[in-house]
């Protein structure tokens, strides 16, 4: 498999039919999901044979992609039932439904364990969601026995803030990969054709 063929496969995953602005639901572009999965598996061997959890899984790109990369079991967690129904039918369409489970839950109090967490949490830009990226990150560090992959807004201040948060919660950042998140105009308040947001992918080793 090539990174491009993975991207083409992920392209077959339907996005959320009616993204909710109050949950900051953006479907992760397939090139970005493919790059993250590629790094996780072919650079670090973090997915194959592992139990992987995707917090805020939405329509399931990272979760389903993790199965394609050889994860033994995958759990996608989201608070939106519409997103989970989409994810479930996506898993069926790609023939991976036997390896993945979907859970309707609030990230604040889900209690589960996994080897690896891979997530693209809301950035916490909407006033009602301020700080939610930190909530996801701290929860991911609790769930994962081994490694966390988490996508966050770039910027020096955010790196310092998240770095401290990760250390305080027992994690160690081993790598930060700079990426660009291309957001199409899906909401009414989007005036431009495309928004490109600079993002950082964190790989965090969890010492347990």
């Amino acid at each position: 498999m090539t990174r491009k063929s993975l991207e083409v496969m992920l392209e077959r995953i339907e996005p959320h039919p009616s993204p909710r602005v109050d949950l900051e639901q953006y479907t992760i572009p397939s090139y970005l999901a493919a790059t993250i999965l590629w790094i996780a598996e072919f650079k670090h061997g973090d997915l194959s044979g592992r139990t992987v959890c995707d917090l805020g899984c939405g329509s399931g790109r990272l979760a389903i992609g993790s199965v394609i990369m050889g994860a033994r079991r995958v759990i996608g967690v989201d608070i939106d039932p519409v997103a989970l129904n989409t994810a479930r039918s996506n898993a069926r369409r790609l023939g991976v439904e036997g390896y993945v489970d979907w859970i309707l839950a609030d990230v604040r109090n889900i209690e589960i364990s996994a080897d690896v967490v891979i997530q693209n949490p809301p950035f916490g830009v909407q006033p009602s969601l301020r700080g939610i990226d930190s909530v996801f990150l701290v929860k991911a560090l609790k769930i994962a026995r081994d490694v966390v992959y988490s996508l966050h807004k770039a910027g020096r201040n955010n790196r310092a803030f998240l770095g401290k948060l990760i250390r305080e919660n027992g994690g160690e950042v081993t790598e930060i990969v700079e990426m660009e998140f291309d957001i199409p105009p899906i909401y009414e308040f989007h005036l431009k054709k495309h928004y490109v947001i600079k993002v950082d992918l964190y790989r965090v080793k969890v010492g347990k």
Partner: protein, 92 residues
């Protein structure tokens, strides 16, 4: 939902593990059933193969009561008698 999920899932409210699983409809996976916490008595419905592990304040009372009514005959008596946040008393 697959059965192995019970190995890694704990009660979202009281953190207790392991939880009890009662299956009502099973095809390739569990389509309908209930997950029960024997410590805090909360029950969580499995609807269309998706377990709903929500805290009390986010639960849909109407949907939960319909679920209780629909599976009354297969529901463990303990859940009907003292299940939280809703039980058979709320059906009357």
């Amino acid at each position: 939902m697959k059965r192995w999920l019970m190995e890694i899932l704990a009660c979202p409210i009281c953190k207790y593990h392991p939880l009890e699983l009662h299956v009502f409809v099973e095809e390739e996976e569990i389509e309908e059933g209930v997950i029960y916490c024997p410590k805090c008595y909360r029950w969580y419905p499995i609807i269309e193969a998706i377990p709903h592990m929500l805290p009390d304040e986010l639960r849909d009372r109407k949907e939960d009561l319909e679920f209780l009514k629909r599976w009354k005959d297969k529901m463990p008596s303990e859940i009907l008698e003292r299940g939280k946040p809703f039980n058979a008393k709320d059906l009357r």
